[in-house]
Structures are given as C-alpha cells and as structure tokens.
C-alpha cells in the first residue's frame, strides 16, 4: 500500500512546491510594483505639503532607508505570521481586513458549496442529452449569461427581488451583532448573483470535459457492448472526466474572486473586495498589497487543489505497475 501511493505523493508534493514557488513570485511582484510608485512612498503617505525632514523621519521609521531586498524579506516574514503592516490610516492591516476576510470567505464558500454539485449535475445532463432541447437550451443560455457583466446581474437581481418583489433587502450590510439567520437572509441576493455568474462557466466547462472523454475508444467500446447511454456517461465517462472537471471547477472558483469584488461593491457587503476598492480609491498601498496577496493566495490555492484532485482521481496513477 505504501509503495503504491508513492508516485501520487511525490507528484502532489511537487505541485505543492510549484504552488509555493508561484506564491513567492507573486509576492515579489506585489512588493516590488509598489517601488514603482511615482515619488517616494513616504511622501505619498504624508501628502504634498510634507516637509523634507518629515519625509526623511518617516522613511527611517518605516525602514525605507534599508535595502529593498531586506525590506522584502522582513515584509514576507511578517506576512507569513499574519502581520501585514500598518495601513496609511494608521491601523494594523489585519485589524481592518480580518473580520472582512471572514465575511468574504463565508460568502464565497456558501456559493461554492451550492454551485459545484449543481454545475456538475447540469453539465452531466447536458452531455447525456447533447443536441436535445435541454442541452441546446442550457448551452445557449449559459453562453449568453457568461457575457453578462457581474454588476448587470447584480442590479437585475436587486431590481427584481429587492425593489419589485421586496422579498430580500437590497443592501447586504451584515454586522456581527446580527444573528446568523438575519445575516444569511441578507446574504441571499449576493449569493444568488455570484451563483448565476459562476454556474454558467462551470456548466459549459463540465459539459466540454465530459464530451471530450466521450470521444475516446473505451467509451465507444462500452457503447458497442450495448450499455445504455446513461450508464456510459455516469460509469465510463464521468470517472475519467473528474480530473478535467476538477480543474475547470477550480478555475471557475477563481471567477468568484473578480465576481466577489464587484458584487460586494454593489450590495455594500463588508468583505475584502470592498476594502480593496476603498483602498484603491484612497491609494492606501499596504491595504492594497494585503488584499492582492489574499486574492492571489486564494487563486493559487484553487489551482493547486484542482491539480491535486486531478492527480488523485486519475485511475492510471492509482494503479501503478
């Protein structure tokens, strides 16, 4: 048993290593793109009217007189322990982002938990009944809905469910003082919007992944043996399509990231996305860096997860010679 799981373990380990490497590169990009800031970092904090002495004093206090590589390493070490520095407004970045991060994770994970099984089911149905009405209907409507800007879907939902029907509140400003039921009730519209945004991508990609497996010889063989079409899809095609499906699902969870930013702004949901937009408007660089790092970590994490799932689910790797 121990020997058989070896190739998988080593492949997973190498993927984790690659993921960490890309995270390192991304952190380098995020850190050093700030050095490109026109004018110095300290004068950006203090504003235009700062005296040269004040700028110099702040530079010393922030450690800006140290070499860049040293600053990068200490920033990285601090970030690894969860300390992302001070915002320009003077509060620790983690104190600003921490509760918001929790909100965003709640929003995204509820969406993901609903979206993934639903999308895979609908994608399988499309592949099973390809060319029939249900497939053509879903294919055309998902093609149309991947073209919709997120804010359009969001405002449409708001218009229908909050303004016309008045079922849900139009603003999702949740607070800790609210009980869980109230919070969930306010999150319905953002979740519904996010679902619509990512479901279309996921269904299309699941369908494509299964159909590409369907053209392989062993599927043909199963058909020739006289197996029913439903059995061919669920027993032959689906297990082999898990790898590709996992990777498209993870890639589409990455759509959640850009979706989350826009949708949090529309529904005034207190999450990281909104914090990032506020920081961009105020040019609060440490907060922007922290948000970018959080989103990039999530993105790389999703991709890593997809890699691992597709390695682990690959039948050929489960039975090495």
């Amino acid at each position: 048993m121990n020997r058989t799981s070896h190739p998988i373990l080593s492949m997973v380990a190498s993927r984790v290593g690659l993921g960490l490497l890309s995270l390192l590169i991304v952190s380098l990009v995020i850190f050093f793109s700030v050095s490109l800031l026109p004018g110095s970092y300290a004068s950006a904090i203090l504003g235009q009217n700062a005296t040269p002495e004040a700028v110099a004093a702040l530079e010393t206090r922030l450690g800006l007189d140290q070499p860049a590589i040293w600053r990068y390493l200490s920033w990285l070490a601090a970030a690894a322990t969860g300390d992302l520095g001070q915002s320009f407004a003077g509060r620790p970045v983690m104190a600003v982002l921490g509760p918001r991060l929790l909100n965003t994770i709640t929003l995204a994970s509820i969406t993901a938990v609903i979206a993934v099984p639903l999308a895979i089911t609908l994608g399988v149905i499309c592949a099973r009944f390809r060319g029939r009405f249900i497939d053509r209907f879903l294919s055309t409507s998902t093609l149309a809905s991947i073209s919709l800007p997120e804010f359009f879907v969001a405002y449409l939902m708001m218009m229908i469910f909050a303004v016309k029907l008045q079922w849900f509140p139009s603003m999702a400003g949740i607070r800790n003082s609210m009980d869980l039921g109230e919070q969930l009730y306010r999150m319905v519209l953002p979740i519904l919007t996010l679902l619509l945004v990512i479901l279309a991508h996921m269904i299309r990609n699941t369908r494509a992944a299964i159909l590409s497996v369907m053209s392989s010889p062993y599927v043909e063989m199963a058909r020739l043996k006289g197996e029913s079409e439903g059995r061919v899809v669920t027993r032959q095609a689906l297990p082999n399509a898990i790898g590709p499906i996992a990777s498209v699902v993870a890639l589409n969870l990455a759509y959640l990231i850009s979706g989350v930013v826009v949708i949090e702004v529309v529904f005034v949901y207190p999450g990281v996305g909104q914090a990032m937009i506020d920081a961009v408007r105020n040019r609060d660089v440490p907060v922007i860096q922290a948000c970018a790092l959080i989103f990039a970590t999530a993105y790389i994490g999703f991709n890593l997860l997809a890699d691992i799932v597709s390695i682990v689910s690959n039948p050929r790797l489960l039975h090495p010679r």
């Binding site: 800031l37 093609l143 073209s147 218009m159 909050a162 303004v163 850009s258 937009i277």
Partner: protein, 292 residues
C-alpha cells in the same frame, strides 16, 4: 475547410464562398453579426445620431424621468442619458478594440519570437508569462492602476499586457506545431517559399482559431473595462462610459427606475453578440479537427 473539394473544378470567387459560408451560419451567429454591425454603426456615427452633446448639460433637473425631449431622461448632472449612451458606445468599444489589438500584436510577436529562438530566452519568457497569469486579472489591474494612477493610456497598457499572455501561449504553441504539420511539409517538398506557405497554408488554417480567440479576448477586455469603470477606477468622467454610467445612476434602481440598467444591458448585449459569433467559429474549427 471544404474548398479543397469544390475548389478543383472551378474555384468560386472569395465573395461567393463567403456568402455560402454565411448561409450555413446558425441563427444565433447571424443575429450576433447583425448586432455587432449595429453597435459599430452607432459607435462610428455617434456625433450625428446623438440628440445632444456628450458632456453638454441640457437640463437643470438631475435624474429627470423619460420625456419627449430626453427620451431616457437625464443623468446625475442633468446631461441627456440617451446621448451619453450613444457616445458611450464609441468610447467603450474603441478603447476595448485598441486594447485587444495591442495585446494581440504584442502577444503574437513575443510568442512566435519565443518559439523561434527557443532555449533559455523561451523558458524565461514562458515562466514570466506563467507568473503574470497566476494573479487574478482584476486584482492585478486594480493594484497597478492604484500605483500608476488611472489614466486611459495606463488602463489600455496594463490590460493589453495582461491579456497578451493568452495570445502569447496560443501563438507560441501554433508556431511550434506548424512546422510539423503534413500539409506544411508537403508544400515545402513542392518547393514553396516560407512566406508562401505561411500565407496560403498556415494562415487560412489558423484563421478561425485566431478570430474566435480575438472575439473572446475582446469580450473579456470589454467586460473588464466596464467592471473597472463601474468600480470607479477605469475610464474617468466626463467621458461617457457604460460601466461608470451604471455606477453614477445606480441610486435610481432603488426607486424602481430601470434607466441605469440600460447601459449595463448594452454591454451585455454586445458581449453576447460577439460570443455567439465566436461560438459558431469555434464549432466550425473543432468540426475541422475531428474530420482531419
């Protein structure tokens, strides 16, 4: 392409072939083409179609309702909404188009160059592209814009560079593959020049893929710019842009007024139209692959 069959007896002219091709297009693709043509017409002739100027304040009443003078009412500063919608077509589409072209040129040049040179340079460029692709686009754009400040040239440049990574990958793969294809080999054995081969053999075969990729990337860029403008960091006022028009007039939605949804719907409709055409091209291209 089926011209290899009917080209032999008497090659029909390019125009007839194009017309024949259009006749086989499904309804969605034809609808898409008509819509794209309408958008292009509105964008080009905006100053002649729009009843008022782009930044002209025509009314003292902001957020005025629909009326005979102002068909879609006025916006938050009392400018004619319909006129801004029409000028918005021009700004949104032209900026997205320029960005697509720059990123296409940049990506393809680098891709082919990288494939031809090979070795260390190829590896270095490819790894750099991988790193760029491992940050979510919107997040990267937000970060860079907040550092360099949001002006239209910055916006175009950043999105073009980020999108060119896709073109880079495709063109690099194409350049690597093309040399090993049978029909290219055949043409080379016939003694055709490299230029002749690229124009007559390679280009027609990769054209549907290039066109569909261009279409998809245009949609992506168009939607990104709209989203950025909606977030307030894209195209800045007073230029009319559909994304920022939604944002500026969003307050009307809570009063049950659908006016702010119109620019959003215009964005969606154009993206849908382009995607319908792209889908048809892709289906044709994949059909070819299965036969050959």
């Amino acid at each position: 392409m089926d011209q290899s069959i009917d080209a032999r007896p008497a090659p029909p002219s390019r125009l007839t072939r194009a017309r024949r091709l259009l006749a086989t297009a499904p309804f969605t693709a034809r609808l898409g083409m008509v819509l794209v043509a309408i958008y292009a017409f509105v964008a080009i002739f905006a100053p002649w179609i729009a009843p008022y100027g782009e930044v002209e304040v025509v009314s003292r009443i902001p957020f005025d309702g629909w009326s005979a003078q102002h068909l879609l009412g006025t916006d938050q500063l009392g400018r004619d909404f319909l006129s801004r919608l029409i000028f918005g077509a021009r700004n949104s589409i032209s900026i997205a188009l320029v960005t697509t072209m720059i990123s296409f040129g940049l990506g393809c040049l680098l891709g082919v160059f990288s494939a031809l040179i090979g070795g260390f340079v190829d590896q270095a460029i490819s790894r750099f592209v991988d790193a760029l692709m491992s940050v979510p686009d919107l997040i990267f754009i937000l970060m860079i814009l907040s550092i360099f400040g949001n002006s239209i040239p910055n916006l175009i440049l950043i999105i073009a560079v980020l999108t060119s990574t896709r073109f880079f990958r495709i063109s690099r793969a194409a350049a690597l593959n093309v040399a090993s294809l049978d029909f290219v080999e055949a043409a080379r054995v016939r003694g055709e020049s490299l230029l002749w081969i690229s124009i007559h053999e390679v280009f027609p075969n990769v054209l549907p893929l290039i066109l569909s990729e261009l279409g998809m990337r245009f949609c992506f860029i168009f939607l990104s710019i709209a989203a950025l403008s909606f977030l307030g960091v894209g195209i800045q006022p007073p230029l009319a842009e559909w994304g920022s028009m939604v944002r500026d007039n969003a307050a009307l939605i809570n009063m049950g007024d659908i006016t702010p949804l119109i620019p959003a719907a215009s964005i969606a409709l154009l993206a849908i139209a382009v995607n319908f055409v792209v889908d048809w091209l892709l289906n044709r291209a994949s059909g070819l692959n299965e036969e050959g």
